[in-house]
């Protein structure tokens, strides 16, 4: 080995750590790469160091998780019942005027829509699933939960999700102009696996979460329930601050659609499996009280 090569080796060897850390400047990275291309000894050192780090990271990936009881305790402590927004508490306790029942019944007859449980039940709280959905909608919009796949095609998104989740992926077709799919990511909702698909509806962010139907739990029995059409598509609507969350199940999958209040419910339902019956959803919402 020549003296100049030895000196060069000593110098570039110092750069291996910061290079693998990603903190070496671009000029030195270029010099390092050029040197490694022609020096078996340094290339071997570099490769060994990289493999060693991978080994450590792989071993660390199997590190023990926190006990489930700790997760449950923290979740319970941080998402107490009083976290429920009870968007309109006064309204929740108000008696239902007879005329509203009459209007709802008339609407049901006219449009084949049956409105059930139109007002909030007294003392009820917002399910953890709804809070999770709201939280993640905010995180997605703010970029704190980055998308893992970006595509304007629902089919491409479904193809990407399908092998990555343990439940059937059946994304509704984005219906009509002004509704565009943006991308998706894997996530968790209420401690269960889920996928989040971000749409733009009339320029506003709307997120469709899909997960195993069992995740719906008690949330599938609360909120404002809306049944649409002869097939009896059933939706549960919750209002949390300025966000409306619509839940439904379809086969083995559950869905939660999070839409800001500025998006009209009927437009939000552009991605809720109703297809041609979407207008009935709009009429149902128009006829009844706001979701809680």
């Amino acid at each position: 080995m020549s003296v100049s090569r030895a000196v060069a080796c000593t110098r570039v060897t110092r750069w291996i750590y910061p290079a693998l850390d990603g903190t070496l400047g671009p000029r030195r990275v270029a010099l390092l790469e050029a040197h490694l291309a022609g020096c078996d000894a340094c290339r071997g050192l570099h490769e060994r160091e990289a493999v060693f780090r991978t080994r450590i990271a792989s071993a660390a990936a199997a590190r023990p998780l926190a006990p489930a009881s700790l997760h449950a305790r923290l979740r319970e402590a941080l998402l107490p019942d009083d976290a429920a927004p009870a968007a309109e508490p006064g309204r929740a306790r108000r008696a239902i005027p007879l005329w509203r029942w009459a209007v709802a019944l008339a609407a049901a007859v006219a449009f084949g829509v049956l409105l059930v449980e139109p007002l909030v039940r007294e003392g009820s709280s917002t399910p953890a699933l709804i809070l999770s959905v709201a939280a993640q909608q905010a995180a997605l919009v703010e970029g704190r939960l980055p998308l893992e796949v970006v595509s304007g095609s629902s089919e491409d998104i479904a193809d990407w999700l399908e092998p990555r989740v343990g439940f059937p992926v059946d994304l509704p077709a984005a219906a009509g102009p002004g509704v565009d799919v943006v991308g998706a990511r894997l996530t968790e909702l209420a401690a269960a696996e889920a996928a989040a698909v971000l749409y733009q509806v009339d320029g506003r962010p709307v997120t469709l979460f899909t997960f195993p139907a069992a995740t719906l739990g008690a949330a599938d029995r609360g909120g404002r329930t809306v049944e649409v059409g002869e097939k009896g598509h059933r939706f549960h609507l919750y209002r949390l601050g300025t966000l409306t969350v619509t839940l439904w199940a379809r086969g083995a999958a559950g869905y939660a659609l999070a839409a800001p209040a500025e998006v009209e419910a009927s437009r939000g339902c552009a991605v809720c499996h109703l297809g041609d019956e979407g207008r009935r959803f709009e009429r149902a919402l128009g006829a009844g009280p706001a979701p809680r």
Binding site: R14, F52, L65, A83, P85, A134
Partner: protein, 186 residues
């Protein structure tokens, strides 16, 4: 805090519970104490949520809270570690001037289990242990590690350099130690 932001913050913090727990376990060597530390950390984070900028990565902040609780407990017990002689500008210079030692081929060829890694990390001095975990296993940047352990970036580099070298030695001895001896040390 409004309900959506509260829920968003909660979800963000709860996402990191497993990582906080492991960090706490590696600091305390005690599962029950680790649980207590994580619980204290998460609840304190929730109380101080307004201190966190909405778009910031909260991991350095959470690790910092956990570390402070741990150090408070050690101080109470009178076992708080002092900064080592490695925490000097000279040590930083040393890290920059001298090449890292070679990673033995045996370490590369040897299958590494999480138990072996934990045993090796436990042999490191506490101040080295925490920067190694945060930088190499949690993937935090030097700056984030510095925030988490309340020191300069130069000190992080210095401690990390030494921590990695010691980890190599510990793993090398781990891989060559007889199984019986390893069991005896558990």
């Amino acid at each position: 805090m409004d309900p959506i932001r509260r829920a968003a913050f909660t979800e963000e913090v709860l996402r990191h519970v497993d990582r906080l727990y492991w960090f706490a376990r590696m600091l305390t060597h005690d599962a029950a104490r680790a649980e207590d530390l994580v619980q204290q950390t998460v609840l304190r984070a929730f109380e101080k949520a307004d201190q966190l900028r909405s778009h910031a990565d909260c991991r350095p902040w959470l690790f910092s809270i956990l570390r402070n609780f741990h150090r408070m407990a050690l101080r109470h017990e009178g076992t708080l570690p002092e900064p080592t002689s490695g925490d000097t500008a000279f040590a930083t210079l040393e890290a920059e001037l001298y090449p890292p030692p070679l990673t033995p081929e045996a370490l590369v060829d040897h299958e590494l289990t999480v138990e072996a890694l934990e045993r090796a990390i436990e042999q490191l001095p506490p101040l080295f242990r925490e920067v190694l975990i945060l930088a190499d296993l949690e993937g935090l940047s030097y700056e984030s590690v510095a925030t988490a352990v309340d020191c300069s970036v130069g000190t992080v580099k210095s401690r990390l350099y030494r921590a990695r070298n010691r980890l190599r030695l510990a793993l090398a001895s781990e891989s060559t130690a007889p199984l019986a001896a390893r069991r005896a040390t558990r």
